[in-house]
Amino acid sequence: MAQFIQSHSAPDLRPAGLRGVAADFSSDQRAFKTASWGKAMMWIFLLSDTFVFGCFLLAYMTARMSTPVAWPNPSEVFALHIGGQDVPLILIAIMTFVLISSSGTMAMAVNFGYRKERARTAALMLVTALLGATFVGMQAFEWTKLISEGVRPWENPWGAAQFGSTFFMITGFHGTHVTIGVIFLLIVARKVWRGDFDEERRGFFTSRKGHYEAVEIMGLYWHFVDLVWVFIFAFFYLW
């Protein structure tokens, strides 16, 4: 039974599966044995953010289901006039690919971070930030286009008035998340570049020693922003 004695130095000896869930939650001090304090807290923050976006999408569903006026067709609303014809939803498709690519570069940045390849990690994080900024720029373009076409939170030229308020609310909140993520990325990239995580330099805010895990925690937030876009793309733009 020596294998079941818990200690932080040997977390690998804990039972797996459902037995492990019971053992972890009923154990002393902490339930998330392999996740650090920072990672567990980021996950719990993301859990709460899931409910925020869940509520927004539910509000959208309720508005769309309860109006007798026809809902504007997103396929036409978000079409762009390219080469003499309307290409449906093309800007949104490009935005989706940009955000997915940023998730890919972020995942690789995390990987190189744990290999302690400072320059590559920082470079990949900067690429991620650049792609994120591109996404926000395209969203600004989309907002400008829709506003110039007469979309307001209380009215629009094509149908149900709730379309505008839902659109600005959901994409606005998501865009804010991306913007905060870009700032967060630049801060962590600077720390990586400066070598903070190699010399365990203490953070200016928490005074805790810096580790490359900060890159992974940053990555969790960034992938979450991509994850939320998957749901917005499916429910708001494609439905």
Partner: protein, 119 residues
């Protein structure tokens, strides 16, 4: 001893962080591109009705699953964390959805009955 070993996880990357081959990330990246292209094609081709909704949901769930499992490393975390984070959202959001569907049905029926603005 022999019956306890069955429950013991093989030593993994506990404190060295999440280390996985780059190839895996590139594969998932490619899959996400393909799945996004598929969901865009649903709109481009103009599939309607139940086929449209089920395809949108299918591609959405596959993409979300890949992002959470591989990019966010949930596939390699301990089950206690996985369950704590991944169980509440679907359960609570689906219950809330059921409530709001019935609420929305009531609202639209009331609107149709009293304002007579049928589409």
């Amino acid at each position: 001893m022999s019956e306890t070993t069955a429950h013991i996880q093989a030593p993994t990357q506990a404190h060295s962080g999440q280390q996985h081959p780059i190839r895996l990330y590139l594969l998932v990246w490619g899959l996400l591109f393909v799945l996004s292209a598929f969901s865009y094609m649903v709109d481009y081709v103009g599939i309607q009705g139940y086929a449209r909704w089920s395809l949108i949901l299918l591609f959405m769930m596959l993409k979300a699953g890949l992002i959470v499992a591989v990019f966010m490393h949930m596939a390699w975390e301990r089950l206690a964390l996985v369950y704590a984070i991944l169980l509440p959202p679907p359960v609570l959001v689906l219950v809330f959805t059921a409530l709001m569907v019935s609420e929305a049905d009531y609202t639209i029926l009331t609107r149709l009955a009293f304002f007579d603005t049928a589409p």
